[in-house]
Symmetry: C2
Subunit: 255 residues, 2 copies
Amino acid sequence: MTYCLGIINRFGIVMASDSRTNAGTDYISAYKKIFDLSLPGERVLVICVSGNLSITQGVMTRLKRDIRDRTEINLHTFSNMFDVAAYTGEKIREVQSKDRDWLEKDNIDYSCSFLLGGQIKGEEPQLYLIYSQGNFIQATMETPFLQLGETKYGKPILDRTVTYETSLSDLAKCALLSIDSTMKSNISVGPPINLILYRNDSLELDHTLQLRLGDPYLAKIRKLWEQSLRQAFEAMPDIEWQAEENGLEDEILID
Amino acid sequence: MTYCLGIINRFGIVMASDSRTNAGTDYISAYKKIFDLSLPGERVLVICVSGNLSITQGVMTRLKRDIRDRTEINLHTFSNMFDVAAYTGEKIREVQSKDRDWLEKDNIDYSCSFLLGGQIKGEEPQLYLIYSQGNFIQATMETPFLQLGETKYGKPILDRTVTYETSLSDLAKCALLSIDSTMKSNISVGPPINLILYRNDSLELDHTLQLRLGDPYLAKIRKLWEQSLRQAFEAMPDIEWQAEENGLEDEILID
């Protein structure tokens, strides 16, 4: 399983991913799932991937090869993020057209999804989620984050802390805690964690970070977060048990 | 969707459930999903249900009717909880045998699952999860909780606060916060919340509670919990961004 997330707000973009890949619980390995395809000073493009590894690698290789070969159309030739998202969707369709039938015959999951975040000079920063079918949606002010993969364990903290006005350093902390919560509840999501931070209009990544298993900062925030949660929990007022008439009613059948 | 959970430890049992039922987002209603089939002083039996409503109602009606009619074998005749779980599984199989083919033909989800918690005089308290197929598992000291339905949003708080030594009043708070987290992230889980608390060897329910939408205690703990989470979050140390060599490596392809 994978967990990737992207958050965009008035200050910039944070994207993060785990690195665990598995083909069943008896074959677990680590692959990077976040890719920087930026042209610093001119455009920032970061992509996170989840799903079938051969499909996502196939798409990423095509996208990178086009840039390297300076083909007439590539991720560095588009003048806006919408077209970058659409082109990424086309590459997904290209790989799916080639491989899907073969995988489907053997009941192998061929789905994949991509997060694309960044900014092109003269344009607003944007964050997209591109589906396995090549169509895509964009993050908005109302819902400033998008997630891929094992999304549920890490969503409560996003719902409660992320807004359009949250500072970038808080967004980064929040992304890390969201991934950490997911790793705690699903062992098929695992380190290293990769994290990028982009400040609007800087047109280059502000920070990139990789936290490996046992990283002291990761251990520290996990411990502190657990302590804080426990303290918060202990500070909750006890339940005010009410009169029995509010209870389960007349369910007791035998007098 | 449904969210039910049961927790058992050295002090007793807490069980809780939401009440929302839906047949698509345009048909939402409330049904109680927790049932008290106890014989106070002699046995405590509480059942939570999730899944296809016609199936779970069919099973509960059969179980209750047998008790009411004092049939030769019913939930009040067994001398241990294991047999109660097995009998509940048999009733599930009985209803599934009758209905499953008809539902399957129209691609209607016929699955269901049940939590069974309680104690029979002279026996240890026990908590079971009974599957759609009629087989079942038991909660243990290592994993003292079992969940049904929309389990993921509410699991992080259980993972971090519930142990075999947690006080009963803390277990009840924790169950409530777990359901509240789930309601916050999935609108198909909703109030009223029903909650029961059983103290070992008392052989009657200590507390039953129903919290309706807008209940002041529910509003208070939700607000306090959000405040505490935000404070805990703000107290987390900022990320220590390291030298760039720990970053995404040489992913920039164009110099």
